[in-house]
């Protein structure tokens, strides 16, 4: 696994999270839940906070590994994933910089150094701004279900991205996000359950 592939992966997760946290706004009209309405709800949100429990199902392990912690999003461009268990770790994406801190080790990378990946960042910002056109340049979007119980599927258009991640499923009820599932190309998958705890004060 190259560093670039790893980055693509972690950024994709953050993007999905950002999308998820953005979806804490008031529910739109009950029927005819469309991507357009979803985008509109996303655009209204300026900040969010949630707890998460993530389970990774890996072929190499007998049981899934579990991690938990907090997620924070602040408009326009700051996303944090703070893992508390099993070991403290933080991923912070702000503007162009992704910073990973684990124990005493910290490293930062600039997204724009990774051309194709930078497209994803633009796409998430576009998502949060409700800019569907930009989002669709990076992912093929499929929305299924009703406003009460919907699933948004993101399929990477970029070939290199698709070599790592097959698809991302985001499930929610009205404005509440429940789960993000990431299916990897090697068959491993992770499921993150999310409980929103409200906007950031």
């Amino acid at each position: 696994m190259s560093r670039a592939a790893y980055l693509r992966w972690s950024i994709a997760i953050l993007l999905a999270l950002g999308a998820a946290l953005g979806i804490a706004g008031p529910a739109a009209a009950a029927e005819g839940w469309t991507i357009a309405q979803l985008m509109q709800a996303l655009g209204k949100q300026s900040s969010g906070q949630a707890t998460f429990v993530e389970r990774k199902h890996l072929a190499v392990l007998d049981q899934p590994v579990e991690s938990s912690g907090e997620l924070r999003f602040q408009a326009p461009d700051r996303l944090e994933k703070i893992t508390l268990k099993p070991r403290p770790e933080s991923l912070v994406l702000e503007g162009d910089n992704l910073t990973v801190t684990r124990g005493k080790k910290q490293f930062s990378v600039r997204l724009s150094d990774y051309g194709a990946v930078a497209g994803f960042i633009d796409s998430i910002r576009a998502t949060l701004a409700g800019d569907r056109a930009t989002l669709e340049r990076t992912y093929a979007l499929h929305l299924a279900g009703s406003a009460e119980r919907w699933t948004l599927t993101l399929l990477p258009r970029d070939q290199r991205m698709a070599e790592v991640i097959v698809r991302i499923n985001i499930a929610g009820t009205r404005g509440q996000l429940r789960e993000i599932e990431i299916i990897q190309a090697d068959g491993d998958r992770s499921v993150m359950e999310i409980v929103a705890t409200g906007p950031i004060r």
Binding site: L58, D62, K105, D113, G115, D188
Partner: protein, 787 residues
Amino acid sequence: MTRRFVPALLLWLAFVGACIAVAAQTRFTTDLSAFLPEAPNEEQRVLVEQLRDGMVSRLLLVGIEGGDAGQRAQLSRGLAQRLRTDAAFGMVANGEPVHRERDQALLFTHRYLLSPATATERFTTAGLQQAIGESVDLLASPLGMLTKALLPRDPTGELMQLLERLDGGARPATREGVWASRDGRRALLLAQTRASGSDLDRQQAAISTLRSAFAAEAAKLPAGADLKLLISGAPAFAVDSRATIESEVTRLALVSTAIIVALLLFIYRSPTALVLGLLPVVSGALAGVAAVSLGFGMVHGVTLGFGTTLIGEAVDYAIYLFVQSGTRGGRDTFWPTIRLGVLTSICGFGALMFSGFPGLAQLGLYSIAGLVAAALTTRFILPQLLPAGFAIRDVTPLGVRLRGLAAAVRKLRWPLIALACAAGGVVYAQRDRLWNHELAALSPVPPAAQALDLALRTDVGAPDVRYMVVVRAADAEAALQAAEAASDRLQPLVESGAIGGFESPSLYLPSRARQLERKAALPDAAELRARLPEATHGLPLPATRLEPFVDDVAAARERAPLTRADLDGTSFAIAVDSLLMRQGERWTALLPLRAPTTGAHPSEIDTAAVRHALEGAPGSDALFIDMKGESDRLYAGYFREALQLSLAGVLGIVALLGATLRSARRVIRVLLPLAASVLVVVAGLLLAGVALTILHLVGLLLIVAVGSNYALFFDGKGDGDGPPPGTLASMLFANLTTVAGFGVLAFSSVPVLQAIGGTVGPGALLALLFAATLARPSCPAAGAPER
């Protein structure tokens, strides 16, 4: 032609012939490191070696500007590809992952021998349990993406251990897959020449190769793509400086010669006199080159450039001869004065010869040999060569007018004294910033080039090798062991944040002893297999899945230790070659330190902590070197020495004058104008914002040397109304040629030459003015009748 003269002429011809023969054999150098002092201590020797041959001296920083990002990246790839196949370059890096696969394969294959974590405890049941537990936890992190595929073979996370150690330094940004500046407008490339920093011819060839490779690649781009190549780094500086010095020395010599020839023609109105007048100059210059060549084995270009200024002084002797021999008293009156002037100059420059700075010593020897030869030629050869009835035009009317002028100038006595006092005040007030103590002040690199270098260096994140630990040993293995001992001391400093990190050749190539130790720490297959079930108890990773791990450890136990040859084709080979080198009979390992980026003191290294940590390290000859501090200290040491030597020279001059003039008042009268000129020049430089370097000091010494002639003439036994008209005229001519010779230097772009020119040019003029003003307010005051 007298009979006594024939042997003298033959002697002179033989001397000139010998000088030409020596000069023809002379090796001229413009390698600036030749101007570096001979290092007095171990730290400074390392510094000088690094400047001369170290990795920094071989690293070219290349920028590509213009066009669009895609074109720049294409050009960067093409250029790198060409350079990588060129024997002139050892390493070419532009952000392309050319070595990545081989690097990773090597790291993974040899991970147990390379990893600092390999120890007996790590392979006990408890050690394995902890290491495997950490690896499983890591899978929960996004970082687990990197490790999960390797888990069955590397459950203890040895590869991550290695990557963490190796992956510390700042990396350049990338655009379109190649390195770029932060703003993305410039593609970047690093190239290391194989030629050492002191091999300027091969460095120059490498740079030409780089340029033509760029041109060839740029030609592939569509027309209209206007891409520009920027080159910086020590080799580029050295090669450019050489070119600059060469062209400057030639140009300056031509210009000052032309000016002086024109001036002499104007004065003499006689081509014969001109040719004869240049004889002492040529003899002097040849004698200087020959003396330096014999004394030092080579002549530096800067010495030569400086030598052109000697034309300015040596030509004076002939002027004095021609002008004054025509007047009454002839050469009998002026020769003792000239002799004393030459002796004063010898005192001044003689002191420099004892400098440990080869450059200064060269200047001293050159001046002394040159002046002596010129004076002797003027005294013993030139008069005999003058054709019968030789005369230049009569300068008496000019002299008489000058006398009037001198009398008028004497009225300015008090304003000039006030000026000198004010200058003294300025110098005193600014005494703290009088001297420039940084070696960089002597750098011949123009500010624009320095700015470009800084910009490229910042973009690349090229190691600013300011601090390093150096260990030396009899062979490579011992040097690696010493590097490991030092690394063991440094590692805790990384954890505590006193330093950001460090490099060591032993990271890529551990000593054989260390590798064998690590190998011995690995359990055999049966034992390891027996420990795994308990080690994985309670983990979601069953021991049965770790059979590849058992196989890899067993293979590592069989594998021969890694050697330098195994690194070929990886980027580690370059790293080891830059950090571990043979110097003479000994091997040197370098451990450059990185400043921490965060913490209490970001971008600062806690030098006290490093020194403390290294104290008493086994084989404790590890040197901790602050390259910049050391170079400044080195320069400061030589500066102090030069200052002391100059003072000794001045004392010598005072003693000489005292012995000759036998009158304290006359000595003071001769010295006063010189002191006043020096003060005014120094004050002028200070007010212009220039802090004085060692070269300014040489310039000041020259003012004293040249000015002493004027002061002596004004002090000489005139007819009670100052020097006779002929002498006055000859002094003016002499002064004009001196000012012209040095004045030209002031416009040089080589700071070394510019410093001397800017000091001596105005100084010589002032010395004449002060000498005329402060001369004995002689008899007219007593009412002697005007003629």
